[in-house]
Symmetry: C2
Subunit: 241 residues, 2 copies
């Protein structure tokens, strides 16, 4: 096998951005809500504003400022902030509507190469999300888009958020392999750097439009990752699947 | 849908005995080891002896006598006891051999109806093991036998052992449904009773040969479970899958 992936026993996948297109999906899911409430914000801009609160909200957990809570809860808190930032009176909106909008993150389309790529990779390797998303979100995404995961690992089973080392290490332990026999597949250089630091193999998938046409970050591999590809089908080619 | 399973959002499956045949599988995996070490014990008897230590070893965790450890560790401790009970000097056996034999529990054949039944049930419901087995054991079993799980939940994510209520409740919480919208599928009346006690729907699958031809326990449904079937394909029929 190329790139010496022969000892690898598990492929973990970053999911938001790497496997599914969160930006267009969240915008699509938010659009009827924004119209209904006569909000002037563009749906893609709304998705970006919501996503911008993602890292700072996880950072409060990583730093120990608050206890671990699942990402669905952080997304809900962040949604309320974004709505307030856009002048919405939260008291005017029924909870069921907010709950439904919050699960926009459960209904995101896979990138066009994802299903074929994962299906082929799964022939040779056990596969699963190694995401900051919680189990029910990953399960719903898999059912929505047909992602053929073998198992769901990552943040919730480790009660930590990437790039904390526990998220990778507890995932490796849970799937039954030492870190050296697990690979992370991700579109984000920082995620791969943290995984490599604990001994993982690394696969960079370039997703230059995750943040839209003007994306500035992660447009290329920033280190000598073990494998760098443009699509998950290309990863399957490279790994002989 | 019959039996009012329409609100159900997740089917959790007991695995050892309900989905896979542990007795014949463990006997098959143990046979070469027993021969190599000139042990006079019958492989099926050896499997029964090993399994007999399963409940008491989990009970020490449930009672709080010891902290939660994953089932692979309990199986390993129990294996050493069974070998000693059969007159084996453990110092004469290399660790790699014991490690390999211990993963007999990762290489068990599904019952003949399991793959078709699960594949059909999966069309309508998200499915996953709700087992006392740990994640890596369930993942290995799924890869070995082709079990099409969507997610792996149960003991390890809840750090508890069935029939403790936490195992069921934390599984429901992880997959994102209230207990009333989760069903347990199991061949064991005590497991179903505990699941029902926390609000789960219940599906009894009769496995009258799990313990061999002379089985005395769980040969029939002992309560009015929501659905009682002979096979997982029959469960799929009954649930309109």
């Amino acid at each position: 096998m190329p790139h010496d992936f022969s000892p690898v026993g598990f492929l973990g996948f970053d999911t938001f951005g790497t496997v599914v297109d969160w930006r267009n999906g969240v915008a699509r899911e938010a659009e009827p809500f924004l119209k209904r409430h006569r909000m002037a914000v563009d749906p893609l801009d709304f998705a970006d504003q919501w996503r911008a609160l993602y890292e700072p909200s996880m950072e409060k957990v990583r730093s120990g400022e608050r206890n671990w809570v699942k990402l669905d809860i952080l997304h809900r808190e962040n949604l309320e902030k974004v709505l307030e930032n856009n002048g919405v009176d939260l008291d005017s909106i029924v909870d069921a509507e907010l709950r439904d909008l919050n699960t926009a993150w459960h209904r995101l389309d896979p990138w066009p190469d994802a299903i074929e790529g994962l299906t082929r990779l799964k022939r040779k390797f056990p596969i699963g999300p190694l995401s900051n998303g919680n189990i029910s979100a990953m399960l719903a995404l898999a059912r929505f888009g047909g992602l053929p995961w073998d198992v769901i690992v990552g943040a919730e089973i480790s009660e930590s958020y990437k790039p904390q080392s526990e998220t990778y290490l507890k995932t490796a332990e849970a799937v039954g392999f030492p870190p050296q026999q697990v690979a992370l597949v991700a579109a984000h250089n920082s995620d791969l750097a943290a995984a490599r630091a604990v001994g993982f193999r690394t696969v960079f998938v370039r997703r230059p439009y995750e943040h839209g046409p003007l994306q500035q970050t992660d447009v290329r591999a920033e280190d000598n990752w073990d494998l760098c590809v443009e699509t998950l089908t290309q990863a399957a080619d490279a790994l002989g699947c």
